[in-house]
């Protein structure tokens, strides 16, 4: 898709980072286990909660790198 008025586009190599938090939580073999436990949480629970942090990190980086004025 071309942007006739010059340099504006939604495309950025940073966007590929968004794939990480989309794919990770959909791979149950990574987290479907009781051990190791963390603070009493089975891995199934703490690792999926940790994926929230992965999602926040990736979206924040993409936002910072693609926001206006850059």
């Amino acid at each position: 898709m071309s942007a006739p008025n010059g340099n504006r586009s939604d495309r950025s190599p940073w966007n590929r980072l968004l794939l990480v938090p989309i794919v990770l939580p959909l791979l149950p073999f990574l987290f479907n286990s009781d051990e190791p436990r963390l603070l009493g949480f089975p891995m199934f629970y703490w690792l999926q909660l940790a994926f929230i942090a992965v999602g926040v990190t990736c979206t924040t980086i993409v936002y910072q790198m693609t926001k206006r004025g850059r």
């Binding site: 942007a3 939604d10 959909l26 949480f41 199934f44 999926q48 929230i52 999602g55 979206t59």
Partner: protein
């Protein structure tokens, strides 16, 4: 009822304070007049990052979620935790999609997803199908918010339908007066209350029960002892596919719901949306912790009222907290139901006004006409939701909501893919929609639950052996139906092109998907599609 007096008083006071705010909201960020859909239905399209965060968060994470997800963990274990991956994958997935929708909507003055489809594919028929799908999927969702309030009222010993009718009448009145500004303002209170309650719950309750280790072990014991094959604190070989497809399919569906799109379109620029996509997961963490209340209830030996599992969380609070704080927690759930109910009714009303009333009844409707029709429709939608609860079995509302998720997914090819490609032919999209709907209904109809003796519409997990596959695995019915939809839409497009069937025009331009705040065309080109 007498032993719950403190709770009832705290609940009532907070509820009334919030209702007062709903009425005052019409003066907040006051426009010249509220008599247009941009003002009444989208809050002036001017919300910044904070307001949008509270509004969209309050919109997506509903009271019903807060009550039903822990109930699911309480009953079935790990499967209920799908809400966490679901709300993790959603934001990166829609990050780039929603900013395109925001841009094209601002240039053309779109208020609903069906507005976009009409302009993009030049097809009022397709737009009508999208609008009807949106309205039908939203109605039971509003009714479910009432189920959330009902669970809390029941736990306070308040029975009968009168309190719910009063609560909804108040809600209807201030939504009528203030439009989207009401839920936006109330969302601040709702979320603050919920955050306080949940932080207290995840600190106090595990301490009282002997720690997280004990909680998870007790849950494991319960599921080991139960005869049901699919439960446990981990997934098994047969429900992993269901877990993943349900999380993924629900994520695809969430931002197709008209009320989510309303929240997004009300923000003032693209950066507000991007920033929110990285900040909204704070609610996912909250939801993850809330869901674990289900396991806490197992460890605490909490029992539901009758057979209503939705009362598990309210009962746990009652058991663990002093009365006044239980009252606060109940108010958080009750008020939590009002925010999404208001936004959903506004979104459904906008669909009716823009894509049915203006399209087929009164094409020359003025802005003021549109706002008036939407306000009245929003009242009717709420009456419909209350009627659902009064006259239908609660279980039936839950079935409808389940169906709602599957049918809203069928708007994905036109709405979400349409933002990227104009390849599909309008006739292909319409046949795809029909096929996807048919497949979805057929799949859901054939899902039974031997444990409850229910033969049809007993869940969303479709057993693959019914398709002749030799496996015990299940898959989310919505994803299968969407696959049918996409295949038929693609095939239909090829056939329609080959047959030389006339395609609709496209009122949008590639550059319209990139426009941002400050772009002169956002005002100049306003409403060019109409």
């Amino acid at each position: 009822m007498r032993e719950h007096l403190t709770e009832i008083i705290v609940f009532t006071v907070l509820f009334l304070v919030v209702s007062g705010m709903g009425f005052v909201a019409s003066r907040w960020r006051r426009p010249k007049d509220l008599a247009s859909l941009d003002e009444w239905g989208l809050g002036g399209r001017s919300f910044g990052s904070w307001v949008t965060w509270f509004l969209v968060g309050g919109d997506l994470y509903t009271a019903y979620t807060f009550v039903a997800v822990p109930a699911l963990l309480w009953g079935a274990g790990a499967m209920g935790f799908f809400a966490v991956p679901y709300t993790v994958v959603i934001y990166p997935m829609v990050f780039l999609v929603l900013i395109r929708l925001w841009s094209v909507s601002h240039i053309h003055g779109f208020v609903t997803p069906a507005d976009f489809v009409r302009a993009r594919f030049g097809s009022p028929t397709l737009a009508l199908l999208i609008a009807i799908t949106g309205i039908v999927a939203t109605m039971p969702y509003i009714a479910l918010q009432l189920v959330g309030i009902e669970a809390v009222l029941k736990s306070m010993g308040v029975t009968g339908h009168l309190p719910i009718i009063i609560a909804f009448a108040i809600l209807a009145a201030y939504t009528y007066q203030s439009g989207l500004r009401a839920p936006a303002l109330i969302a601040f209170v709702k979320d603050t209350l919920i955050y306080i309650v949940i932080l207290a719950a995840v600190i106090v309750i595990p301490a009282k029960l002997g720690g997280w280790d004990v909680i998870f072990n007790k849950a494991q014991e319960k599921f080991a002892a139960s005869p049901a094959p699919g439960d446990g604190i981990l997934l098994n070989a047969n429900n992993q596919l269901q877990y993943v497809t349900l999380a993924f399919g629900s994520a695809l569906a969430l931002f197709l719901y008209p009320h989510s799109i309303t929240g997004v379109l009300a923000s003032k620029n693209r950066d507000v949306i991007k920033r929110n996509m990285s900040a909204l997961p704070a609610y996912s963490l909250l939801l993850g912790l809330i869901s674990l209340l289900g396991f806490m209830a197992i460890a605490a030996g909490t029992t539901p009222i009758g057979k209503d599992n939705n009362t598990i969380v309210p009962r746990l609070f009652d058991q663990m907290f002093p009365d006044w704080f239980t009252g606060v927690a109940y108010a958080a759930v009750g008020i939590g139901a009002l925010v999404p109910a208001a936004i959903m009714s506004i979104a459904a009303a906008n669909l009716f006004t823009r894509n049915i009333y203006k399209e087929y009844v009164k094409p020359d409707a003025s802005d003021a006409d549109e706002a008036r029709v939407s306000k009245i429709t929003s009242l009717l939608v709420k009456v419909g939701a209350v009627a659902c609860i009064l006259f239908l079995d609660t279980g039936f509302s839950i079935d409808l909501q389940l169906i709602g998720g599957v049918i809203i997914l069928q708007t994905l090819p036109a709405v979400a893919l349409g933002l990227y490609t104009r390849w599909f032919h309008r006739a292909g999209l319409i046949t795809g929609w029909v096929a996807g709907m048919g497949a979805g209904m057929l799949l859901l109809y054939n899902i039974g639950n031997p444990a409850t003796g229910k033969l049809h519409f007993a869940g969303s997990a479709f057993p693959l052996d019914k398709l002749g596959l030799d496996t015990k695995m299940t898959v989310y019915a919505g994803v299968l139906a969407l696959a049918v939809n996409l295949a038929v839409a693609a095939l239909g497009t090829v056939v329609a092109r080959a047959a030389g069937l006339a395609d609709g025009g496209d009122a949008t331009h590639p550059d319209h998907y990139l426009a941002d705040e400050g772009d002169p065309r956002i005002k100049d080109l306003d409403l060019t599609a109409h």
